[in-house]
């Protein structure tokens, strides 16, 4: 008898994505849909889409959704969750969105301990607007607005969001993962599942930072891009859990 070993998650629409070859968004979307399916929560999930390449995430994930203005997704999620505490609310945000224009919103959603889950996709560049410098662009990295390579004296340092938010009392779970290899993707899914579990159990704010590839924005091939994550990004943005629930046992 034939056994299906691979199928599209139920929470994903059956459409091709608009993402470039080698982009990490498609992988992260799929992980999100798998986690929603595995918890069986699609009918009570609400997503908040960002501005940037992944603004169209609502074309791919089949659940109730808002489309936010740049950086404001955590405030919209706050408004929704306060009205419907029983819904499972997530935001999906890129690095320009969350770590630059929306720093106030993410910091204060975390410090209030909003019971929401944040998927933060860090690919060290502005994708949709055409490859400009991001707050997470690495030192030396060339972008269309740091054409000489990012220099700390001129453009400052790349910002480590996970480490920064982990200092906040209000944040319950903060972790950084990557999607540059099958092994990393499996670990990323585990982290995302934990983040949603924390929300489902009412334990508070959870954030998963995904290091992700942007071959187009980086001007290299998809294969080279996965190497670049491994060799350049991970040394500056180390993977791991920066904040875990005070009592891991409280997770059922």
């Amino acid at each position: 008898m034939m056994k299906a070993v691979f199928r599209r998650p139920k929470s994903m629409f059956s459409v091709p994505t608009h993402y470039c070859p080698g982009c990490g968004h498609g992988i992260i979307h799929r992980l999100l849909a798998e986690v929603i399916d595995e918890f069986g929560i699609r009918e009570k999930v609400v997503g908040v889409a960002p501005v940037g390449c992944s603004v169209l995430i609502y074309n791919y994930i089949n659940c109730d959704m808002y489309e936010a203005a740049h950086g404001r997704a955590p405030a919209i999620a706050t408004g929704c969750k306060r009205v419907h505490p029983d819904l499972i609310v997530f935001t999906y945000q890129g690095d320009g969105d969350l770590a630059s224009i929306g720093t106030a919103e993410i910091v204060h959603a975390a410090t209030r301990g909003e019971n929401i889950t944040v998927l933060f996709v860090n690919n060290a560049v502005y994708g949709m607007t055409g490859g400009q410098m991001a707050p997470t662009t690495l030192l030396g990295q060339k972008t269309t607005t740091s054409p000489f390579g990012r220099a700390s004296k001129r453009e400052g340092y790349p910002i480590r969001i996970a480490e920064m938010l982990a200092t906040l009392e209000g944040a319950t779970y903060v972790t950084r993962v990557s999607v540059h290899s099958p092994r990393a993707i499996i670990a990323a899914k585990r982290a995302l599942k934990k983040a949603f579990e924390i929300q489902i159990n009412g334990l508070g704010f959870s954030l998963v930072e995904f290091l992700s590839q942007c071959p187009t924005g980086w001007g290299i091939s998809p294969t080279e891009a996965t190497k670049w994550v491994e060799e350049k990004m991970i040394p500056y943005f180390p993977l791991g859990e920066f904040k875990v629930p005070k009592s891991e046992k409280s997770l059922k």
């Binding site: 609502y58 919209i76 408004g79 819904l87």
Partner: protein, 353 residues
């Protein structure tokens, strides 16, 4: 509650919102509207509602976006500089067609300006305010009682049009105490919000958005919004006319200034000068027709504002050259007195003698 209570305009705004079924408030402190959030921070929990002091006016307006999108009646309030910060979100709310109520207790500007009453935000309130082609429905009360009534109406109008409604008050109305009655309204069934984000259970999913990359689609969306504004102009115009039937000169004023103008009119009429008042209650949609009609009967209209001339532009559009439009304004937190208004009318009268 049917007996009269003595209450400030700001607190009355908070209580009126609660009595209109609003259970969510998101805001950020700014003078002279602080007693609205202060009042709601203890009143909302008493009625099972939720008050959040946001990290900024920007965050506050997006919390409103989230709550309105989730189907709740929701309020935010601020003043000049804070309303400016909210403009981005107000544009998104108008674009996404979400109902909510925004109160602006106006103070003097530009910039940080001052904290005393002003009508300096008329353009911002009535001409869109943020980016894009949109309008708010804007209600301008002139007494605390009227503020209460209009705040309650504002929630119904927001739901009816799926559009943000602004209550445009000023520091005087916010801080002034007056006896007020919170009239029980006939309990109406609230409009169903089947578009709201509530979890896609047994229905296709809801999507609240404002992005239309296809120009044909965006044009259709713009036309759909525009149709609502035309409907508002047809059905929602509110205006008070006071002693206009025999008037030879008309004063045009809204809000606090309209009250002061009534005193001036009384004095002028005692002197034998027949003056009337046209007071727009909705400043968007604007009562152009009232001014068109009045301009057939009088030669002079005096616009009085706590600005250097903002509503006057709409008055001129209504009058359309058929009468002479004069202006008197005080700014910076200075308020026109009734004797100043009397003097301005006297000047018009003398120039014709």
């Amino acid at each position: 509650m049917s007996e009269k209570v003595l209450i400030t305009g700001n607190e009355a705004i908070g209580e009126a919102a609660i009595q209109a079924g609003c259970r969510f408030f998101f805001g950020y402190p700014i003078t002279p509207q602080n007693t609205i959030p202060e009042y709601l921070s203890y009143r909302l929990p008493q009625v099972g509602g939720c008050f959040v002091q946001a990290e900024s006016e920007i965050a506050a307006i997006y919390m409103v976006f989230g709550a309105a999108g989730a189907g709740a009646r929701v309020l935010t309030s601020s003043s000049g500089p804070g309303i400016s910060l909210k403009q981005e979100g107000i544009s998104y709310i108008a674009a996404a067609e979400l109902p909510c109520v925004i109160v602006n207790v106006m103070r003097g500007g530009p910039g940080l300006g001052g904290i005393l009453p002003s009508q300096s935000d008329y353009f911002q309130a009535t001409k869109g305010g943020g980016h894009g082609d949109y309008h708010l429905l804007v209600l301008a009360p002139s007494t605390v009682q009227e503020t209460v009534n209009l705040v309650m109406d504002a929630f119904d109008l927001a739901d009816k049009y799926c559009n943000p409604v602004m209550v445009l008050a000023d520091g005087y109305i916010g801080q002034m105490m007056e006896p007020v009655e919170f009239k029980k309204r006939p309990s109406k069934e609230l409009l169903a919000k089947d578009w709201a984000v509530t979890g896609a259970k047994n229905r296709p999913r809801s999507l609240i958005k404002s992005l239309y990359l296809n120009p044909e689609e965006l044009e259709q969306h713009n036309l759909k919004l525009h149709k609502k504004y035309l409907e508002m102009a047809e059905y929602e115009v509110r205006v008070e006319t006071y002693l206009t039937s025999d008037a030879e000169i008309i004063i045009a004023a809204y809000g606090t200034v309209a009250r002061i103008s009534k005193t001036a009119i009384k004095i002028l009429r005692e002197k034998g000068i027949k003056v009337g008042l046209v007071r727009p209650i909705t400043v968007f949609p604007f009562p152009y027709k009232t001014f068109a009609d009045i301009s057939e009967k009088v030669d002079d209209v005096l616009v009085v504002e706590m600005s250097l001339g903002q509503m006057i532009e709409d008055v001129k559009l209504g009058v359309c050259g058929r009468a002479k439009v004069h202006f008197y304004g005080r700014v910076g937190g200075m308020v026109p007195t009734y004797d100043e208004i009397v003097r301005e009318v006297d000047k018009i009268k003398e120039s014709k003698a």
